[in-house]
Symmetry: C2
Subunit: 226 residues, 2 copies
């Protein structure tokens, strides 16, 4: 503490910037590895090696491997929400099918985010500090509210219906992505055994069908314009 | 091989029965531990201790901890399907809301199965032999077809709609169960921070709402009786 208080201001700023750059490099390395191998198979040692640090040095920036991937999940929510809300905000009106396509299309364009959506409650939230869970949850709830406002405006949903819609879309994107990406050996099995043809899942068409029927079945009407 | 060929038949039968009893005891111990602590936190060492065996002896009965839990997932599919089909088969007709309640009620009554439904594609199917994946998949596909026949009969769904319905119900039951069961520390956080009230998920009402709207939105009609 004493030594940092005696540091000149520009030096503290420089080291804060250096710390942030290092954190960013760690997140980018974890993202690239998760994208290539699946989040499940990426260890802290892999990330440290990719970024050229010792594991012990990396642990000065993040608590655990799960905290790194939870931070990437929060980034994923921000980017998905910005993309989806940007699309929806440009529409004066939309049918259930059009909203379902916009939601599914922006999710399917983010395979790493789909992987993380399934990993977060199962694995990631369980091996980080309570403060990390709190700040992660506040990010996701903020984005859920933002997407929810667009859904309510376009389709006349209630708040509870908007929350259910987002929970359905993200839960199913996560689960279907896991089924669609079973690893090369199991994929080979599905392709080679004709009895298992149905086990091969395609995320985007199935999720579009399910969300279209779900939003149609809510039977709501968009509120009158104005 | 030679020594087993010279065994008297009754002795082989006795040892086959003993093997089966031992396998059953292992599965029951894993089930009890998974139910109490969550599947994620149960190790092979825990199971071996609960059944009073050495870990190396247990590995003569099952390949990995994941194979034990995959066998329990297959049992879960058989039992859920028997229970749900028993309910649906007794009905001459049903509304989407009634089918949604039957599907959700029989899933929510099986918390361990809900936990396993999320674990299977993420973790369990990835650490067993290809033959174990094949036999697991054949069990689940058989039960999906059985449930699908009842859904088609009652609601006039196509085969693809019946498959989508079961995939939606089981994917969401798995994902929502994980969110609803975040561990005691995170649960405490949700209860103590008023901003996080929405993070507390109730599986059964949400899944009932979603499936009811989804089945309604398919807009199909039950085929005429007879």
């Amino acid at each position: 503490m004493m030594s940092s208080m005696s540091e000149p201001a520009f030096q503290r700023a420089r080291s804060a910037a250096a710390k942030q750059a290092r954190e960013q490099a760690i997140l980018e390395a974890a993202h690239a590895l998760g994208r290539r191998h699946g989040v499940r198979d990426v260890t802290l040692t892999d990330i440290a090696a990719a970024v050229g640090m010792h594991k012990s040095a990396l642990l000065r920036y993040f608590e655990t491997r799960e905290q790194i991937f939870l931070a990437l999940t929060a980034d994923g929510w921000r980017q998905w929400s910005a993309d989806l809300c940007g699309d929806l905000a440009g529409r004066a009106r939309a049918t259930p099918a059009e909203v379902a396509e916009a939601v599914t299309g922006t999710l399917a364009a983010r395979p790493m985010f789909c992987d993380l959506l399934a990993q977060a409650p199962l694995n990631l939230e369980r091996n980080v500090s309570i403060e990390s869970v709190r700040s992660f949850k506040l990010v996701t709830l903020g984005e859920v509210e933002r997407i929810g406002r667009e859904l309510r405006r376009l389709l006349g949903l209630t708040e509870s219906q908007a929350f259910d819609t987002i929970a359905t879309a993200t839960s199913m994107a996560g689960a279907l992505w896991q089924m669609a990406t079973p690893g090369p050996r199991v994929r080979e099995l599905y392709l080679s055994d004709p009895r298992l043809g149905h086990a091969l899942v395609e995320v985007e068409p199935r999720l579009t069908r399910v969300l279209t029927a779900y939003l149609t079945g809510l039977g709501t009407e968009a509120p009158p314009a104005g």
